[in-house]
Subunit: 396 residues, 2 copies
């Protein structure tokens, strides 16, 4: 189990390591940009590599719907299909199929077991022990996804790391619902592992997912159950609470429960301060839509804790600014263009705005993670992390 992951340095709970995959090494701690639909939106694959990223995240749900995992397999697998030479981790699709249900019918979820829910909103037709039946957002056709489906999709995609198919509960469900959901996710874990052992490409690593919502005993139970299984790494998933404090509490209580030698992935977390906290708590990998989604909505990541590290370029105050988004940032948005120009491009809904801000935000994240890694190696994590939060990740 430890061949594929080595820890090179430690500072308190923080670790700097290397995840070895069939498509190259991934230095950790690492932020993994989303290529959910086989593209980091607006960028070419080689540009993502040039920014220093060694792994991206593909999404089983989206690629199942379009173009279909068999199609990706016919095209030589996801690496070949999207022209990405580095490592790929694939999300199981669980989050997306359950979001369709939980997102829009939250009130129902609280009162009824999902087994008895009628199909209505959000595309979910039925959820039972087998898996989830839902309607495709593309053509309305009915589809099914269960643990075996997810593993089959991830095998066809040929990712370097497959994730277990789990139910991702929203933050407001009851302890009782969370307990039952966590137990089912554990049964699904066994089915995932059974399929993976028979059907996955021999290079594909498999990560289990610890559930349990915000409940300490459930997290503890889930961590024990999941890390006992035949897994190559572990992700922290499920509900992480309704705010940053709850999320951090879940991370702080869960990481000590995980085997030290296993790579640890925190699902869907990507705010600057949360990364700094997560690395400090011993997380090795993160993925999140935020940096690239913010870019598509005109927001740049900057060293401004009071503004939650966000600069909203839609605002009129930037119209006359001939300053770059960030002094010292090596990205094309900052070395070649002004805030005023990018403000204009955002307002005019120009594609170039999305591209420039995506380059900027992913540059920010790549440099931040590089600095955090270096800080662990240098044994000065706390001091460096504090400085990075204030001053940003650029050489000055």
């Amino acid at each position: 189990m430890s061949q594929h992951f080595t820890i090179d340095a430690r500072d308190g709970s923080a670790r700097a390591g290397v995840l070895r995959t069939a498509h190259g090494d991934v230095r950790t701690p690492a932020f993994v940009p989303l290529a959910s639909t086989a593209t980091v939106k607006s960028l070419q694959a080689d540009e993502v590599a040039a920014l220093g990223y060694e792994m991206v995240l593909g999404n089983s749900f989206h690629l199942f719907i379009q173009p279909g995992h068999e199609q990706v397999e016919r095209m030589g697998g996801l690496h070949e299909f999207m022209g990405w030479r580095g490592a790929i981790i694939t999300d199981s699709g669980g989050f997306q199929v359950f979001s369709m249900g939980h997102g829009s019918v939250a009130e129902e979820v609280k009162r009824r077991a999902p087994e008895r829910r009628e199909a209505s909103h959000g595309g979910v037709v039925a959820i039972d022990e087998e898996g989830v039946r839902f309607r495709s957002y593309l053509d309305g056709g009915e589809r099914f996804m269960g643990p075996e489906t997810s593993m089959e999709i991830q095998a066809a995609l040929g990712s370097d790391v497959a994730l277990a198919f789990d139910e991702c509960t929203p933050f407001h469900v009851s302890r009782d619902y969370t307990a039952r959901s966590t137990e089912r996710t554990h049964r699904w874990l066994d089915r995932c592992i059974a399929w993976h052992e028979q059907g996955a490409p021999e290079w594909q690593l498999f990560f289990g997912i610890v559930q349990g919502g915000v409940y300490e005993d459930l997290r503890r139970e889930s961590a024990e159950r999941v890390t006992r299984a035949a897994i190559d790494g572990v992700a922290i998933g499920g509900s992480l609470g309704q705010d940053k404090d709850e999320m951090r509490a879940v991370v702080d209580l869960t990481t000590p429960l995980l085997p030290d030698e296993m790579p640890r992935h925190l699902l869907g977390v990507g705010d600057v301060d949360d990364l700094v906290h997560g690395v400090g708590a011993g997380i090795d990998m993160f993925d999140c839509a935020t940096p690239t989604r913010l870019a598509r909505h005109g927001t740049a990541l900057v060293a401004d804790p009071e503004a939650r590290w966000r600069l909203d370029l839609v605002k009129a105050v930037h119209a006359d600014s001939r300053e770059p988004i960030a002094e010292g940032c090596p990205c094309p948005a900052c070395t070649r263009h002004t805030r005023g120009y990018i403000h204009y491009l955002v307002r005019a809904r120009e594609l170039t705005a999305v591209r420039l801000l995506t380059m900027h935000n992913l540059t920010f994240m790549a440099l931040l993670m590089r600095r955090l890694r270096a800080a662990v190696e240098a044994g000065e994590y706390a001091k460096t992390a504090k400085r990075l939060l204030e001053a940003g990740p650029y050489d000055t």
Copy 2:
């Protein structure tokens, strides 16, 4: 007049030359990509330069509406604003303001003089000797553009080449309407020149526009009138007919009427075969939305005369193709990606599709023009042009 343009080689009517501007030399024959809204859509300015382009075209109408020419001026002029180090030619806005009227109320145009047209469709409120009153597509506010407005906008933008403000008639208007419109365009030319001599930056060149529709005598009259004026170059504008044959007939009859030493720009023409014909007829510069617009609609330029040099990647036939769009093409779409992947990206409406196809189409155009220029220099234009149309512009 001849200091800013030199002709280095000739082959029949075709010429290879250099237009010297305040922002660098433009080797001709040249295709000028559209940066109508201060961006070549989906590309960074330095990427356009890296493709080999030395000039782009900004649009006075669009930049007048958003962000406003005063705003661009406050930001240091259009070059500085968009981060483009090369030359810029600005369209006068005439085509756009008149398109709003002519495009949607074509029937009216045929029967009534524009002076008497009521405001209704397309945003045009009134057209008279002074200029055009219209409603902004952005906020519905009333705006005015006349010859002096256009020159003022172009001066504020600080382009290297300003174009005269003209009425661009659609192909279906009568000879009588065309004659009156051409005469007014000539009167507007004098007003443009008067403004330009007083108000333009000293480096800004000024090109007149020959009108006259498809009528030989009107073209002849207009060519004489326009080229007698104090202009630095001449563009062929107005209606170029309803098909390629009419357009080429207009080009063939007009170019011999133009002073040999003046740079000649053919407005809005950019099909592969039309460029080959135009260069052969003695045109030095072209601009056209087609290569970049096709890219945004999923179409790649390829060496296929029977398909009008177009490959529609929306078509399902490309889904399984692991071939590049074009063998030998050095663009990132072709060196790193397959037709099948790009087909998928186009179908999924991914921004990366627009970017890859824009890179491809502008690479195709840049190489084509480079080859045509080399062919003129080598004195083998006819032979090379024929080969390029069949085999494409790549090294093989």
